[in-house]
Symmetry: C2
Subunit: 549 residues, 2 copies
């Protein structure tokens, strides 16, 4: 714990840096708190940038949460914008800084230093990438440039279909642009499992947005009318404007030059109080690596929530010492809106668990955003992953038109509490017809997971894994309207009387609309001696995700 | 664990009983499952009843989730409606039943018996209470009667301002009735703390609904034009129709007559597998008492979610024995919509903690339903209660126009996981501008609670507890528009320069709009040596809840 007065130098004035400065000021009026920011703005709403381009946030001023002046007035901060840090002299606790205006350099002394440099959008060294028509989106100036450039063109290519890529696609479509999205993976939103984002892909295509999946970018060529994006497939995409959103790289050069420990992917290594390998230097936000509390590994989650709370943690440790609350790590909760759809994740995806070699089980269920008998209910699809060892939840993904954020927040809370599938089964969530369900989709996922463990539910993950004997147990009229490929229709109410129609020598795969009745049917069949298996997620999920790739 | 075939007799065919029957059938095709129901309907959406009266659910058939016929067809149940159980012969495992049609009595044998009789609306023995104009709402027939009766009258009196009372008030107002609500407590929704329901009361009054609080009913008198409700205050309320919604009483008469153990308030006592004191008899739903997992006491929560999951638990124990998942108790999560407002609770209220004599701390904060810079954000007020001993969350209440259900679900999950205020501070909730916040109101509540523990936040619960030196730190224009009684305005940005205007010899109470800036101001003052205290919830909460009672 430091005795006052202290000089706290913070490099970076947006999410993590601004949070650290504000929190530090709550601890001490006498501390000299200096915030260096390379750009002209501090503490702006970087997550809101796409929404000003598309007009959802019409007033640009709404994105400036604070200004250098307001931070000076409210927090008595020494804010120096358009100033960058050149090097750190750890021995003498000094930082060499340079004014971007006149290039003048000087030295700043510190008692504690907080690095909050963020992460910069990846710009791989491809031919033509330096064209002024190839944009990335990090700050208000990038936003202004894209907004101005978009006004003058008809076609926009977005490279990368992650969260920001999809937000940009939605917003640019909204202002009438013809949008193509190019993604190296064979799916949008590669943070989620492929089958969970099929509805988003359908929505994007229905809106007229072109999805070019499983294809990469090889280079760009400026033309008389705009710019050509040259794809790995050989395709040449002529467009007026390119937005590159293929990920970010931690801005850890300053830390590296100062000899601080970095992680394998270049992130600044910190402990649970955000201290780097030099105890006088902290790092927060997108540039640093943190603990993954789910599997106990290291992780880096470049999102605003973690950055803000890490900034607070660093400031607490400076002023409270070991009494300060530790940062408990990041689980990676994220959500995106794409027109009337939402999709998101908390914790691990199936793809990542496979990559880690971690044993898991998974189930996918559907539920209603609120009581299905109350107007406005929408279907939510929820995919749950857990450890077969102890039933502990490892992650979940959700998609739908309403209530997706709520279910992700419940899962995020469950992950923090290390809850199990049995805990989910008995969560007592708020229920009144406009708001929830007596058995919420979260409970149902817990029920289904427990049923799998107990052998009551023998799941088939998808239609393609189903064998030849598929029974569609939906009412005849529903089955006729949107048939399941290869299925024989026996409505549930008739099943007990028509068992003789089924071949006992091979498994029976049951399917229905939502994945609930098919489970009921499989239980009937299993209790009559069949090898019965239920196709998860029902026609609602399967017919949207089934596709010959 | 029972060997098949078994005869399972279930008394009551709505939430808990129907869930038990359905779950039992998944376990066994050969079990004889009999469902007795006194009414004509089974498995109907009782939580939806008010919404058909008001027209939100226009089609009555939507409330019939299952019918006796559909249960026979889908679940092969032996459903006997309009049949009541008269007595239980535990020795011989027989139940005497009576047909409500012809009064014929007969005996039914069982291997296991599940009691799911529910709870009946309280009808105290007041003069005139048997008037046909005094209604209660429990089933579809009650609903039909109220709907028909309401059509013919102008004025309706609702006795009891609990969840159902308020839903009925909203719905009857929606169809043009002049509604008066009479409540014995000096507030609506006595399940919540008084100050948290002030916004609901304001909304109800603004809609023209008369709230008669802190007044009780002494009796009724039928008149030429309708019915007079005679209140304890002496007032005589002339109305066309009375709806009594003052609570429910467990229907445990059958269990009592059979000598099963009952709790102090007449609920059937069960263990965590829902077994009564007779191991062949289970009880589920509103009629039984369960564990309170928060304080380890006994509790009874007459709501649909617990009933459904208790029914499932009983069926599991019958077929799986000790492998069955135990019911973990009920925490009491509830929510109500009142026009454009919502309010709800998870866990204990301050009032109940006081009654239990349990030590607690509490804080009230405001936050935004999603990023405040994104259109459509609404303010949520959250009151958090926790144990000073270990920081464990004991309960929370929320109110607002959007996102109340989500925050209650997070708290409900936190209660199940026995999370602490520090866990809430670092919950990593889903954030994108349309859905959440980088620092959600849940995080902010955790921050504030931690600040209280660490002495950074010295809270003042309400304006009335504030002393004479109140400083309103909002911008001058805001403070002038809606002034705080007795406050001197010093905007935060000017505070450091105007310290000399304050009296150091007495405490300074700070207030702002949302309760955040006042905390910042109090930190400045405390760091300058003042005894500074922040008024919780800001003007947003205080000016709505402040009232001379």
């Amino acid at each position: 714990m430091k005795t006052e007065p202290t000089t706290l130098l913070i490099i970076g004035g947006v999410a993590g840096g601004a949070s650290a400065a504000a929190r530090a000021r709550r601890h001490s009026e006498s501390a000299h708190i200096i915030v260096l920011e390379r750009g002209p703005d501090v503490s702006f709403a970087n997550c809101g940038l796409p929404y000003h381009i598309g007009g959802d946030i019409p007033d640009r001023a709404d994105l400036a949460i604070q200004t250098p002046d307001s931070l000076r007035a409210l927090l008595n901060l020494d804010v120096r914008t358009l100033t960058e840090a050149v090097s750190i002299d750890r021995e003498n606790r000094q930082v060499r800084i340079r004014s971007l205006g006149d290039g003048a350099e000087s030295l700043l002394s510190y008692d504690q230093l907080i690095l909050a440099p963020g992460a910069s959008p990846l710009r791989p060294p491809l031919p033509g990438i330096d064209s002024p028509l190839v944009h990335t989106l990090r700050n208000l100036q990038d936003m202004d440039r894209i907004k101005a450039a978009a006004a003058a063109v008809e076609k926009v290519a977005i490279i990368g279909a992650g969260f920001i890529g999809l937000e940009m696609a939605e917003q640019l479509h909204t202002i009438g642009k013809q949008v193509s999205v190019i993604e190296l993976q064979p799916q949008v939103l590669p943070q989620l499992d492929a089958e969970m984002v099929r509805p988003l892909e359908t929505t994007l295509r229905e809106k007229g947005i072109e999805l070019i999946l499983g294809d990469g970018i090889e280079g760009f060529e400026t033309t008389a009318t705009g710019i050509d994006a040259k794809l790995k497939s050989g395709r040449n995409l002529s467009t007026g404007l390119v937005i590159l959103s293929i990920g970010v790289r931690p801005e850890s050069g300053l830390a590296k030059d100062a000899g601080l420990d970095l992680g394998p992917r270049g992130h600044i290594q910190v402990d649970s109080w955000q201290r780097t390998s030099d105890p006088a230097i902290y790092a927060v936000g997108d540039a640093c690596e943190t603990e993954d509390p789910i599997l106990g590994k290291r992780t880096a989650i470049p999102l605003g929530g973690p950055a803000n709370r890490q900034g607070r943690t660093a400031a607490d440790h400076i002023f409270l010492g070991e009494k300060a609350l530790r940062y408990p790590g990041s689980i990676g909760t994220a959500i995106v809106r794409v027109f009337d759809q939402a999709a998101g994740i908390a914790g691990y995806s199936e793809t990542r668990l496979k990559m880690e070699g971690t044993p898991y089980q998974t189930v996918t269920v559907n539920g209603s955003s609120h009581a299905s008998y109350f107007p406005g209910a929408e279907t939510i699809t929820l995919k749950l992953l857990w450890s077969p060892e102890d039933g502990r939840v490892l992650g979940a993904q959700a998609s739908g038109k309403d209530g997706v954020d709520k279910r992700l927040d419940v899962i995020a809370t469950a992950l923090r509490g290390r809850l199990t599938i049995d805990d989910l089964a008995h969560l007592e969530l708020a229920y009144a017809p406009p708001f929830g369900n007596a058995k919420d989709v979260i409970n149902v996922a817990g029920f289904a997971a427990g049923n799998m463990r107990d052998g009551l539910l023998v799941p088939v993950p998808d239609l393609k894994s189903a064998g030849v004997q598929i029974v569609d147990v939906r009412p005849a009229a529903v089955a006729a309207k949107r048939p399941v490929p290869g299925a024989k229709n026996i409505p549930l109410a008739e099943l007990r009387g028509r068992l003789a129609e089924l071949d006992r020598s091979q498994p029976v795969f049951t399917i229905c609309q939502m994945g609930k009745t098919s489970y009921f049917a499989a239980r009937i069949l299993a209790n009559h001696g069949f090898d019965a298996r239920s196709i998860l997620g029902g026609a609602h999920h399967q017919l949207r995700t089934y596709r010959e790739i």
